[in-house]
């Protein structure tokens, strides 16, 4: 149980006491701080900004990630929405900009395809970009593309997005079914190839079915708890306790998002977000809790967390909640590293 006399969290970096700010910086140095979900590369594809340059638009770029103390982030290659064709085209198109931004920003960031890479980035003071795909429609129904994506550096794939695809139902098309025959084969093949499974956007039954089949831990990269936020258009995006328990039993991590939309509360603040961190930690233990910002995915955040430079406020709020330093280090990154080490292997 967390402490009862929780102080109101700081809303600005300036409001952090100097010794608290120093403690947060020290904690950020103790692990690779990992954010399991961001969508920033789409803005590069759209010609709005480059990630190697500091921008005041959007929420994440390489300089701001380093400033906020973020060590690594799963950057998703955005797929045509809602149900497009030519997924491979979109992926190869984005890949151009991933390569070019990482090349131009080589002094700031690097592609990470292994835990060793993430650790090397931390040693070198660089930001590690992990490539992810948000939705198994990326395969265009072809299992053989999985090794090709792995060769490009993709290490995480969500099985669905909002809509049903060849693998399973999505949040907004829930028929109560589990994985399709193709989805089942993809889970097995992702295990074999060492690509982490992300269950965000899946249905309750889909998540449980995935966990029945997966030999490896899975993550739910960006979500909140349905037990605490069960109203509004996005309620079904939030994960139920049964699913949280199943992910924890499998050794996985639930990534929580600083997202007012998922809370269905336009005034939600950091303390409201903290309720979700405490809920998952109380339910299954802090070793199954992580961060999944969904930054540049386009949703309003609590005050102070408008972009990744506010990350110290989140860390400080975790300390306020009474999480121990080892627990905070796990939530910030250690828990994901454990999963990635198991899944990516070698």
């Amino acid at each position: 149980m967390r402490r009862r006399d929780v102080p109101t969290p700081a809303r600005t970096l300036d409001a952090l006491a100097p010794e608290r700010a120093a403690r947060v910086r020290r904690l950020h140095r103790m692990t690779s701080v990992i954010d399991a979900h961001g969508d920033s590369f789409r803005f590069v594809v759209w010609g709005e900004r480059r990630l190697y340059e500091r921008s005041n638009k959007g929420q994440v770029d390489f300089p701001r990630a380093l400033e906020g103390g973020l060590g690594a982030q799963i950057h998703n290659i955005l797929l045509p929405r809602p149900k497009g064709r030519l997924m491979v085209h979109a992926i190869l198109k984005t890949y151009r900009y991933v390569v070019e931004d990482l090349r131009a920003g080589a002094h700031l960031a690097m592609l990470a395809t292994s835990v060793e890479d993430i650790e090397a980035a931390r040693r070198d003071g660089k930001f590690a970009v992990i490539l992810g795909l948000e939705g198994g429609e990326a395969l265009e129904g072809d299992l053989e593309l999985l090794p090709a994506f792995h060769r490009l550096g993709v290490r995480v794939m969500g099985l669905t997005w909002m809509w049903r695809n060849e693998l399973a139902d999505g949040t907004w098309e829930d028929s109560g079914a589990g994985l399709s025959a193709f989805g089942r084969v993809v889970v097995k093949e992702m295990n074999r190839r060492g690509i982490a499974i992300d269950t965000a956007h899946m249905t309750p039954r889909g998540i449980l079915h995935t966990l029945e089949l997966s030999q490896h831990p899975v993550i739910c990269s960006h979500t909140l708890c349905r037990a605490l936020a069960n109203t509004g258009e996005y309620a079904t995006r939030n994960i139920g306790d049964e699913q949280i328990k199943a992910i924890a039993r499998g050794g996985g991590v639930v990534g929580l998002a600083p997202c007012r939309t998922l809370m269905n509360n336009p005034q939600a603040e950091i303390e409201d977000l903290m309720c979700h961190f405490v809920h998952v930690a109380d339910l299954v233990g802090p070793e199954h809790v992580g961060l999944g910002s969904d930054y540049d995915g386009g949703t309003p955040t609590p005050t102070g967390l408008e972009d990744i430079t506010g990350l110290p406020l989140l860390t400080s709020a975790l300390l306020d909640q009474g999480f121990s330093e080892p627990e905070v280090v796990g939530i910030l990154g250690g828990n994901y590293l454990r999963v990635f080490r198991t899944v990516w292997g070698r």
Partner: protein, 341 residues
């Protein structure tokens, strides 16, 4: 210059020593090989398909040092063209991973030389036909990042870049997108290949390449062996001169000169080389398509391997200096000029 010879190659020990020395001096480069493309219709090799993996050991044995492997799609292939090409890329890269002791992907002339010095086969990535761009210049940059260094804008079929010989009796030239791609390629440091490109597209490509070297990775010499049966046919003298005028190279197509083993056909090949070199000089001529398609190495083996071809050219009166260029030096020069570094 009495080059064309009807004699069979004379493999006396002295001759053999010269040929071996030439092959040791320069990486022998074949400007075109289809093997990477000829998987099943989904771009993946299966037990049932007739396609074989690139036979790297066989290709090395045939006396080659460098091989341009072209990816490309047929209209019926699975998913979109980019889907098919991504699969072919993954298959080829998987084969190179498995044969890392024997071959390496080379995106630069320096890498070709390093790989050759290490006794390995230098594999250069090409793309037959611009279908895989799916009409999007961004994908050109992606393929460049993946290591593709040579693109033929049009293969058999009409695509977004220009008219094709296979589905159009009077093929158009390059489209505005095709012209844009060629200009972007030149700026990016990719080599434009006019093999298969019908004549109007040929002249458009040369115009858009803006004086930078252009190659024809594999075609026959019309002046020596006629038009050929394959559309769009062998290059005319005028085309060969224009290609040479860019500083480029014509890879004389072994299969298209109808060479299958017999010495008489080998001499026909020598005649093609003689015709082209008399026309534009030996520095604009190389080998193309010597490894065949589905059975790489088979055709080179049919003509007795590249050393036998080298021997025949030596008999044909070519100087050693000229031969070094034709064997690989000319392609290497153009690769360096087009790719930079």
């Amino acid at each position: 210059m009495p080059r064309a010879s009807s004699e069979s190659p004379n493999f006396n020990p002295e001759r053999r020593a010269i040929v071996q020395r030439l092959h040791r001096t320069i990486p022998v480069i074949d400007g075109h090989c289809d093997a990477a493309r000829d998987g099943d219709t989904r771009g993946r090799r299966t037990e049932a398909s007739t396609a074989r993996p690139v036979d790297i050991a066989g290709v090395l044995q045939a006396g080659l040092g460098g091989l341009v492997c072209a990816l490309g799609v047929r209209p019926s292939q699975y998913g979109g063209p980019a889907h098919a090409v991504l699969r072919q890329y993954d298959t080829l890269m998987g084969e190179l991973d498995a044969a890392s002791q024997l071959a390496a992907l080379c995106p630069s002339a320096a890498a070709i030389e390093r790989t050759y010095a290490a006794g390995k086969l230098a594999v250069i990535l090409g793309l037959d036909g611009g279908e895989a761009l799916e009409g999007d210049l961004d994908l050109l940059h992606t393929y460049y990042h993946l290591g593709v260094r040579i693109i033929a804008p049009v293969w058999w079929w009409t695509n977004e870049l220009g008219g094709g010989a296979c589905d159009d009796p009077e093929p158009s030239g390059l489209t505005s997108f095709g012209r844009q791609v060629v200009r972007e390629m030149v700026g990016l440091g990719m080599l434009v290949d006019v093999a298969h490109v019908p004549e109007r597209g040929f002249w458009d490509a040369l115009e858009c390449a803006d004086g930078r070297p252009v190659i024809c990775s594999h075609a026959g010499v019309r002046g020596a062996v006629g038009a050929g049966t394959d559309a769009p046919g062998n290059l005319t003298d005028e085309q060969i001169k224009a290609l040479a005028g860019t500083g480029g190279v014509l890879g004389i197509d072994v299969s298209r000169t109808d060479l299958k083993g017999a010495d008489s056909t080998l001499s026909k090949l020598v005649r093609s080389f003689a015709h082209a070199t008399d026309l534009v000089g030996a520095e604009h001529v190389g080998f193309g398509n010597g490894c065949g398609g589905a059975h790489p190495g088979a055709e080179a083996a049919d003509i007795g391997g590249f050393p036998r071809l080298t021997g025949a050219l030596l008999d044909g009166g070519f100087a050693e200096r000229e031969l070094l260029g034709m064997l690989g030096g000319n392609f290497l020069r153009v690769f360096r000029a087009a790719w930079g570094g």
